[in-house]
Symmetry: C2
Subunit: 201 residues, 2 copies
Amino acid sequence: MNIRHRPTAEDTRERIISVAEEHFRRVGYAKTAVADIAAALHMSPANIYRFFASKSAINHAICSRLMDEVNAAIGAIVNGPGTAAEKLRAFVISLHRHNKTRLTNEHRLYDMVEVAMAENWPAIDAHCQRMRQFLAQILRQGIEAGEFRAVDADVFADTACNASAKVIHPTLIAQCTACGETDQEDQAHRLVDLFLAALRP
Amino acid sequence: MNIRHRPTAEDTRERIISVAEEHFRRVGYAKTAVADIAAALHMSPANIYRFFASKSAINHAICSRLMDEVNAAIGAIVNGPGTAAEKLRAFVISLHRHNKTRLTNEHRLYDMVEVAMAENWPAIDAHCQRMRQFLAQILRQGIEAGEFRAVDADVFADTACNASAKVIHPTLIAQCTACGETDQEDQAHRLVDLFLAALRP
């Protein structure tokens, strides 16, 4: 039985985001106009503008969704099972893999993130802050369990995130990939080894 | 007494490099033509081409000079007095300051380095390799003196250089400066603290 029901505003918003993301990936952010997204959805551009003030606003929504995905994945690691050392490794490797796969390998999506980084730095910065807080949480778990020495968790998390820039920051991953570096995940593992050595009691 | 003597080929080469560098800094790399450099030197462009095949070749010579300067400064640290811990700190902080001051604050010079990074990656890569070898030398000094635990110096140097990307890599320093980060040298110091903690015997 095929029951049709009217889409809610939230449904429509999600459909716009999905179709826009697909267009940005396939055609590129710069070359996609709101009219193209509207045409693909059999909507008028005016209808799109009821939901999003601009193409840039759609891009921000897509980036938010990407960041929410990362948030959920990292949150699951922090609150899941395992030693603090295992979680620290999972944290760095997951962020590396996510940014490498989703942002760098899909070049056109990466363009969007570059635009977002330039236009919407506060949201990206807030995301990085959340990641640092997750890492500080892992460190506190390790310190409490006697696995790690008693460092200042916030300072250490901050420094470790800075130290991970080369294997986590989309721009750098893309640059290193372009230069032919094929051992980036190994580099990420060695970074974790360095952090764990610094955390020895 | 004013003794005039004919400039040697090496003198002329150096004068071309100096005048070109001054032009690239003031006018920008893209906007400077070989003819402008020739005019400033009261030479014909043909004479410049006797020394350099292209504007890009002049740029490579300028970048080589910059890299030689860094080489000399870091070499002096490695072979100078002090504990290995002090040298490790001086290594990271010097590279940070050099790249921040010479490459990032002087935007037009930075354009040249960006061009060189794109066009002449092997030379830049070789420079980075030399820096890693210097760091490995400091690590060996520390291990021999019993200051550091017995790590694989080459692997650790590699990882530490990767971890320092955010405070050493010109592109990242420029990006972080643009985002309003004002504590980059403090970040560099905290990175060194992390390395020293990981190197505790």
